[in-house]
Symmetry: C2
Subunit: 638 residues, 2 copies
Amino acid sequence: MAGKAQTKEFTIRFVPDGKRGHASEGTTLLQASQAAGIELDAVCGGTGKCGRCKVRPEGGFQILDSSLLSEAEVRANVVLACQTTITGDLEVEILPRSRIGKHQILTTSLGELPGPLSPWVRKEFHRLSPPTIGDNVADLERLRRVLEKDTVPMPLEALRDLPDAARSGGWSVTVTLTDLGGLDEITRVEAGSTSNRLLGIAVDIGTTTVVADLVDLVSGKILQTGSDYNRQISRGEDVIARMIHAEEGGADELTALVRETVNSVISTLIRRESEKGGRPVTASDVVAATVAGNTIMTHFFAGLPTRHLRLEPYVPVAFFRARHPKAYELGLATNPSAHVMLLPLRAGYVGGDVVGDVLASGIHRSDALNLLIDVGTNGEIVLAKKDWMVACACSAGPAFEGGEVSCGMRAMEGAIDRMRINDDFTTSYHVLGDGLPSGVCGSGLIDLVAEMYSRGIIDRKARIQGPDTDRIRATDGAFEFVVETKERLAPGATSDLVLTDADLQNLLRTKAAIYGACSTLLRKMGEGLEQVSSIVIAGGFGYHLDIERAIRIGMFPDIPREKYRFIGNGSLGGARIALLSDRGRKEILDIFGRMTYLELSVDNDFYEEFSSSLFIPHTEVSRFPSAGPERTYKEEPI
Amino acid sequence: MAGKAQTKEFTIRFVPDGKRGHASEGTTLLQASQAAGIELDAVCGGTGKCGRCKVRPEGGFQILDSSLLSEAEVRANVVLACQTTITGDLEVEILPRSRIGKHQILTTSLGELPGPLSPWVRKEFHRLSPPTIGDNVADLERLRRVLEKDTVPMPLEALRDLPDAARSGGWSVTVTLTDLGGLDEITRVEAGSTSNRLLGIAVDIGTTTVVADLVDLVSGKILQTGSDYNRQISRGEDVIARMIHAEEGGADELTALVRETVNSVISTLIRRESEKGGRPVTASDVVAATVAGNTIMTHFFAGLPTRHLRLEPYVPVAFFRARHPKAYELGLATNPSAHVMLLPLRAGYVGGDVVGDVLASGIHRSDALNLLIDVGTNGEIVLAKKDWMVACACSAGPAFEGGEVSCGMRAMEGAIDRMRINDDFTTSYHVLGDGLPSGVCGSGLIDLVAEMYSRGIIDRKARIQGPDTDRIRATDGAFEFVVETKERLAPGATSDLVLTDADLQNLLRTKAAIYGACSTLLRKMGEGLEQVSSIVIAGGFGYHLDIERAIRIGMFPDIPREKYRFIGNGSLGGARIALLSDRGRKEILDIFGRMTYLELSVDNDFYEEFSSSLFIPHTEVSRFPSAGPERTYKEEPI
């Protein structure tokens, strides 16, 4: 065996970034770029299956597999970074669509609290008598004396700062107390009076994006909002790929990556708030936090194993309904003694994000029948009425987040989010960021399918069939529709933007899963669509979605459009309510307690509903009375 | 400024160890030997003040200061390691007395518990129903169901192992529960039945030595006992030097060093217990811990600042009477979810070690008047009667632990622990380890002073005066007594073993501080020596001390000898009782509540009592009726 010392080291230059790195022989280009801090899109975790980490190398490299690349790409010297190893010095061009880039943040504007502003932390100002040789009890005892709480606990992390805080403030202190449910804990002691500075953080950990609000707990106002891509993405795009990566020894790495992301967002918010002027804000000022995430993200964030979530019967380690860990147990970049409420999860695929959605939507307070749909990599559906609430999850797949679709991408700069097909079969569209397009995001894909159906390009089974136009072409016996030609795309494109037969089948399955899940819930509970008083749409679709077209392809139920309501990022909204409102926290436990989980993966009704939804709009056309292929609906300008 | 890359590196060989190391130009020999894992005695923390880190280098070195060395030492090429820098390759001989070597461990044989065996942890065996698709609640919920505790908490660290433990044991588990005072917490879940394996650790953190017992919490038996030098020693011998080091930026280092020491002892005990055969013991098996230490050590161990303990009015950060941190908060090498009880401290110089002494001695349960004396680097005295208990501390100084005395050393291999002066003024003695002597430890020094007084070598003020013998000589106008000549000492000695006038004054002050503190307590409480029903001696002196001679020099009160009782390491004994007995834990709070602290440093009575004790045996000879200079007492053979 060759010794380690004999492995050759090569220099790599990344363009257009201009970054340089070193890597040893045999390293893949994906590993080398990750090491250089360039995050490439690698849905499959670098296993050569998703074909998304496209780069153009020049110099010493060896291609292991190029079967996922088109002929044009091979001619243009494009390779998959994960399927190419380094054999010498080289220069690597990162193609724009391969990069995990700037994206559109989805926050929510929702703000109504279900009761008075009541975070679980508060501040009290106290004057202590200075110690003397005749009264030299411990600093903590002196503090307990004025608090009139004989055994109020104070964690070691907070105790560490007590002596200096007490003395530098001339024995005037501001004490932050955390209410543990009737009992208090001392979370922090500061010198002098700081009573008007009490901050908290609400975090939504999505599979794709982490969003957080820095909140003023005195006024209830959002001071800063920010987000970042979940750094786990480079280890697999969906939760399944990440759980597999975890089981192959990457669990600690995934926990570290998601915590790094959350901490980087928090630090940015704190920095931005400090830059507003006035007294600088520090991590120690953030004394309470709430975190909502899907079950898998919550487990990764808490450092818990996910193995049993991946396999039937999909068992979480904990629901997080009772205990709040402290920030230092999670390595959170807030005050280490801050309590962190993880929004409770209900099942393997119904997480704290869904509980947050419900809380933000308020449907748990309604006597009427309401349906909530959160479409992400997984679709979560909640059907609620006065006395009950039933939730289910369907594996919608990453199609609407840009995965498993040739022209798909996430809702970020360069993504087409709205689209029409013109009479000549060319397309008109809106691009996020207003530049040239690189791909099509979820809402754009829904438009695209609806338009293709309406123009007769696809049949009810979403198969490309006609008409005769150069926008439709056959490759290896399969058809594809040209969304846009290479010349009109953002620089770096190596081929036309197309939607293939295979892509259409992915999209069909995704929409069928969501509609099928909705139908199954209604059927199980013996309710009809006509009873539904509102459908709440949560998640990324809120800002871009054309609800009319989503109904026309049979993704959402065909009910009066005015019954649809969008709440944006309900997960973050719920986390913020939990941070600010005692009533909200009680309601969360109520939601948790009332929510029944229905496992669809083994449900015959769901299988039936799903199968009959694999048509546009549905096998039973009568379910979509107002949604034919005719372009009868109002054309909103692009 | 020269770049780092230009600093020269040299090779150092340490003899007789045979170890090799590398160090850059300008490094001191003390730093280089520490880096090589050789712990040299450096009372002063390497500031050139204590003159104890003597070594003999050969090769490239430069002496910065040799003013603390004798002419003979300089002629013998001896240098102070901290005052000598490296200028080239060299060989360094470590002189035996400079080394922190093997030492005599003081544990205690005391074992009676004040009530039934009742640790705060227990195990329960349970069978869980395996999850199914119809019953896929979280693992923790499944566990709570069989425990019939709806919201019993379980820390993240323990949760991490729950899924695998439950499954690998076929859903039969043993649950370790920690009683938090009426409420339980799940500390650990193991596969299958392990009910007979429940381990705890009791630790005594001394300024000099860390001792620990690995205890079987099912039987109450001590499985293993072990100890190590407190690795802080190389950063200063006494607590004052260490607090100064902490304030100069070394606080984190001191916390790390004491935790390293504790963890190294714990790991050794676990390894030794595993080597007994049977199922291997792991750190996770240790699910409860108690730690007793003086106030400063407890603060360092907990990572709390010590600055205000060093300066008047000597205020601790916390008493640790209410909250037990968890092992992971302290970085303790046990189960991370184990609760760690730090024995409460009462004042800056009355720590958990003294509370432990009292608990182990049982004097808090007696109706009579009892005195407890723990002589270490600081002397702690407790006077107790049915309704009250008063404690004080006196800065005894390191004289009895080998510091500030020319021939002094700790009670370790090579130390003279018992000594007689013969008619011809030569000495007879016993050496720990039975080899040739290197120095004299505390009990030997008491013998030495008593013998010098009895032989008329010193007067009542401990000044060397006569008789005419070559064992007494004058150097620079000061006298010294030759305890043993160089030729009869352990190899490596560079000079005779002597006791100087200055040494005698140090020893006189130490004994006066202890006796003065005892007298002050009695005087304050209006009690007389004749009322004292017992004097309990705790700490290192127990095994070696000649009580008759200690009384003769006026260190301990002159009461009937049978009233003296030795409990050995009461601090460790108290920690063990706290680990094993609920009644013991309650008694600790009772001791804490009853103990009044008397600050001697500003007390006029103490100043008076101390001053009149600066005689042998005392200014008022009548206080020592049975202790004249005559050698009337029974001569025990050496």
